[in-house]
C-alpha cells in the first residue's frame, strides 16, 4: 500500500514565524499532491495542491516546495497566525478512482 509520511508529528511556533511541514511518498500512481487542513472537531478541507510538473506552488502565505527526485514535499506557512493552528495532512492520489492515501498529519499550534 502506498505510504505517505509526514514530519514532525506536532510542532509549536510563535506568531509571525514560518511553519515548515514535511511530507514524503514512495511512488505516486498519479501526479497531484494535495494538502488538507483540519481544525479541531471539523472535517478536513483542501488547502493547497501541487502537480508533478511544478516545483513550487504558492497561495498567499502557503507555499508547497516539491523535490521530485527525493520524493519529498514541504508546506511553508509564512507569518504564522494563531488561526493557523490545526492538523495538516498531505495526501497522495491513487488514480482515477480518487483514492487518497493520507499521511499521519502534523498538528500545528501557533502561540502569540
Amino acid at each position: 500500500q502506498q505510504q505517505v509520511r509526514q514530519s514532525p508529528q506536532s510542532l509549536t511556533v510563535w506568531e509571525g514565524e514560518t511553519t515548515i511541514l514535511n511530507c514524503s511518498y514512495e511512488d505516486s500512481t498519479f501526479d497531484y499532491f494535495p494538502w488538507y487542513r483540519q481544525f479541531p472537531g471539523k472535517s478536513p478541507a483542501l488547502l493547497i495542491a501541487i502537480s508533478l510538473v511544478s516545483n513550487k506552488k504558492e497561495d498567499g502565505r502557503f507555499t508547497i516546495f516539491f523535490n521530485k527526485r527525493e520524493k519529498k514535499l514541504s508546506l511553508h506557512i509564512t507569518d504564522s497566525q494563531p488561526g493557523d493552528s490545526a492538523t495538516y495532512f498531505c495526501a497522495d492520489t491513487g488514480g482515477l478512482s480518487g483514492k487518497l492515501t493520507f499521511g499521519e498529519g502534523t498538528q500545528v499550534t501557533v502561540i502569540s
Binding site: 471539523k42 495532512f89 480518487g98
Partner: protein, 111 residues
C-alpha cells in the same frame, strides 16, 4: 454549488447494536463518493468508494458495509458495532485530480 449532507451529526451506540450512517450530495450528477474514517487524533482512512449507483468498492475491511441506492446517496452500515468502530466518519465526493470535498462528518461513540 455542490452541497454534501451527512446524518446523524453524532451517535452514541452500544456494542453489538446496528448502525446506519447516511450521506447525500446535491448539485452534482453521478459524483464519485467516498467514506472515510478517522480515529481520534488519527489519520484519515478511506473505507469505500463508489463511482456509480449500485457499485461500491471496499478499500479496507472494518466489518462495515456500504451501499449506493441512489445517484446522490451513500450509506454506511453494520449489523454489529465494535468498540473499535468509534471515531469520525466522513462522507466525501471528488471532481477528480485528488480534490476531495468532505461533509461535516458523524462522530460515533461505541460504548
Amino acid at each position: 454549488a455542490q452541497t454534501i449532507h451527512q446524518w446523524p451529526v453524532a451517535e452514541i451506540k452500544a456494542v453489538g447494536s446496528p448502525l446506519s450512517l447516511g450521506c447525500t450530495i446535491k448539485g452534482k450528477s453521478s459524483p464519485n463518493l467516498y467514506w472515510y474514517w478517522q480515529a481520534t487524533g488519527g489519520t484519515l482512512q478511506q473505507l469505500f468508494y463508489s463511482i456509480t449507483v449500485g457499485q461500491v468498492e471496499s478499500v479496507v475491511q472494518l466489518n462495515l458495509s456500504a451501499s449506493r441506492p441512489k445517484d446522490d446517496q451513500f450509506i454506511l452500515s453494520t449489523e454489529k458495532l465494535l468498540l473499535s468502530h468509534s471515531g469520525f466518519y466522513l462522507c466525501a465526493w471528488s471532481p477528480g485530480q485528488g480534490r476531495v470535498f468532505f461533509g461535516k462528518g458523524t462522530r460515533l461513540t461505541v460504548v
